[in-house]
């Protein structure tokens, strides 16, 4: 969907890639493909099977957006008992759905495009890299880096529960630029000092529950361990 937001760029991309399968925009969708972009994460058995097929029939699989990369917001449901969740629908729908997990839980993922919504710039960067054969690498630094390069006021200083320091950069610090704390929609990066940041937040006066709530919003699956550590602390 955000794909179509690339607008005119799409037309340019089309010169180099052939879009074979795009259910939202196309009627005839073919497999196999060279590059498969998968947005979202499976929540039914059929979808898992479909994902496995896509993996088999594509050379490169790209997880597009937070849901695909970390399980995303839907992953929040993994924090609660299934029964409780089903009650909200008065026990409906009847089939027990599948926990939203990162795609990499089911299949090998070649590239991740982070963010909710994922960053167009990064998608273009990836596509460019694929076209010209350049290595595309995940950013190994935090949102703070991009925020401070823009000379913003730090939202932590203003007492906001910002997840910038542990969230993977690449969004150009979009939310902090707009005066809003980072909610961590891109998930943590490998080198993130999560415990260090939790300490900072606790020193600022946030409670355990508030911190857990904030960590779990977008990346419960990725923070699971830290969260249970924090609960026991």
């Amino acid at each position: 969907m955000q794909f179509l937001n690339l607008e005119a760029k799409i037309l340019e991309i089309l010169k180099y890639l052939n879009i074979k399968n795009f259910r939202l925009a196309k009627e005839y969708n073919e497999m196999p493909v060279d590059i498969a972009f998968v947005e979202g994460t499976p929540t039914t058995r059929e979808e898992v099977l479909k994902l496995l097929t896509i993996r088999k029939e594509s050379k490169i699989l790209v997880a597009l957006g937070t849901c695909a990369v970390t399980g995303g917001v839907p992953g929040l449901v993994n924090m609660m008992a299934k029964k409780e969740a089903m009650e909200v629908y008065d026990g409906f729908p009847p089939d027990v759905p599948i926990d939203p997990k990162p795609l990499e839980y089911y299949v090998n993922v070649d590239y991740n495009i982070y963010g909710c919504t994922f960053s167009k710039d990064e998608l273009i960067e990836l596509i460019t890299s694929l076209i010209i054969g350049k290595e595309y690498r995940d950013k190994e630094y935090s949102v703070c880096v991009e925020c401070s390069l823009r000379e913003n006021n730090c939202l932590l200083d203003d007492g906001h529960l910002c997840l910038g320091p542990i969230t993977r950069g690449g969004c150009k610090a979009l939310c902090p630029n707009n005066g809003k704390m980072c909610l961590g929609c891109r998930g943590p990066y490998e080198d993130a000092n999560i415990k260090g940041h939790i300490k900072i937040l606790q020193d600022m006066g946030f409670t355990k529950d508030e911190i857990i709530e904030s960590l779990s919003l977008f990346s419960y699956e990725k923070f699971k361990e830290v969260i249970s550590w924090l609960k026991e602390e």
Partner: protein
């Protein structure tokens, strides 16, 4: 007995996963099933316990398309619940945001999903090969409207500037002027689009059903107003009294009726309920002998294109009158409460309903336009296919898809079911 079954496993060029199957016997329609097979995502479940600050952020993720509408509906309900005062200026700016996202959504639907059906193209990609300029024009409008939304919302989808009570960033005169400038730039293209879509040959099928939209007696409201059907008028808060819901076993989305009838929401419903189209927009329609109200289902497409012109003018007028916005710290008066909001998303009426205790959500209910439309879609299909039941499978499939696509259904939203007590 000649029985046949036509089925489309996965309807393309709509958002989300839905299937259709038509059972015929002796060229008579026996049964039409429009099924939604998308996993539930439990938003209403995990919103529980979350701080009021995060609710609209989560709501924005309900669906990847109407993020602006969902966030706005959600934040409005939160503000209602906690009695957070919202300056009128803020509401106006939010309306501007909503309008640019509406136009964006309609353009996406019109050019990329609907139009290929009418020009015999497989997809917009094929259209681009044939008529590069046409697709480019569509992209230009999309880009411009996205830009406008991003001016106010930080980014084009999932706006990140909304906070209960206002915005997190300054909205300067400069930003507003740029918004107006962009809208002026694309206005002629919107008129062209309206003309293009008014001139297409649509299925003639008509069926009487009910229509539901916001109503304020003077405009075609998007953000504020009562809910009106052909027969009733009531406040958004009373939605539970008027919508009846029920379940069908072949679909993961619940259905609903209003006053015992199936009903339609969306662009056509808006124009059918509110006879307040601006002259500029009305004239375009009239010059192609198109008049609203109308029961012609495929005219949803026309309604969207015409509506775009109307709202573009509306947005420029609003923008001319809004003031600069300075962010300020707002804290809720209450930390307990219940709030309901009803706004118009591109696909129609959208209702968010929350209860809070200690600033934490204890109950959430989201009713999306597609959920409201599914029953209507199915019944209309049944009627329409009766007329053409003698045709080949291919024709039936194609025509059915045309009707379904006209609604621009957003399947991922439809699994957010209606719950009424």
């Amino acid at each position: 007995m000649a029985k046949r079954r036509i089925s489309i496993k996965e309807i393309t060029k709509i958002e989300g996963h839905a299937n259709l199957s038509v059972e015929l016997e002796d060229d008579k329609i026996r049964r039409v099933i429009f099924g939604v097979h998308e996993g539930s995502r439990y938003f209403e479940a995990f919103m529980k316990g979350k701080n009021y600050m995060y609710i609209h952020e989560l709501a924005g993720k309900v669906c990847g398309i109407c993020t602006v509408a969902h966030e706005l509906a959600s934040i409005k309900a939160v503000e209602n619940a906690l009695e957070i005062e919202v300056p009128e200026n803020v509401e106006r700016i939010r309306e501007m945001m909503l309008i640019s996202s509406h136009i964006q959504s309609h353009i996406l639907h019109l050019y990329f999903l609907a139009l290929p059906d009418y020009v015999n193209a497989e997809s917009a990609i094929e259209m681009a090969e044939r008529d590069y300029d046409l697709v480019k024009k569509a992209f230009r409008i999309k880009e411009a409207t996205n830009y406008m939304t991003a001016l106010l919302g930080g980014r084009e989808v999932q706006p990140c500037t909304l906070v209960p009570g206002g915005f997190s960033k300054r909205i300067t005169k400069d930003v507003i002027e740029r918004y107006i400038k962009k809208m002026k730039e694309i206005y002629p293209l919107l008129v062209e689009t309206a003309e293009l879509f008014s001139s297409l040959e649509y299925p003639h099928f008509e069926r009487k059903s009910d229509y539901v939209s916001l109503y304020d007696g003077k405009s075609i409201p998007l953000y504020n107003g009562k809910i009106k059907t052909l027969h009733m008028e009531f406040e958004g808060e009373e939605y539970e009294k008027h919508f009846e819901e029920y379940v069908v076993n072949y679909s993961s989305a619940k259905r609903s009726l209003v006053g015992g009838r199936d009903y339609m929401v969306g662009a056509l419903a808006r124009l059918n309920i509110n006879p307040y189209l601006r002259e500029e927009a009305k004239d375009i329609a009239l010059s192609y002998s198109i008049k609203f109200p109308s029961d012609r289902v495929a005219w949803i497409n026309v309604a969207q294109a015409i509506e775009n012109v109307h709202y573009a003018i509306e947005a420029m007028e609003i923008a001319d009158n809004v003031k600069e916005y300075e962010p300020m710290h707002i804290s809720p008066k209450n930390i307990d409460g219940e709030g309901i909001s009803a706004i118009e998303a591109p696909r129609g009426l959208l209702i968010h309903h929350y209860k809070f205790k200690n600033g934490k959500c204890t109950y959430a209910n989201i009713i999306t336009p597609t959920a409201m439309n599914t029953e209507n879609i199915e019944r209309n299909l049944e009627e329409y296919l009766k007329d053409i039941a003698g045709e080949s499978d291919e024709v039936i499939k194609k025509e059915a898809e045309k009707i379904i696509r006209a609604y621009d259904p957003c399947i991922s939203c439809s699994v957010h079911v209606i719950r009424t007590k």
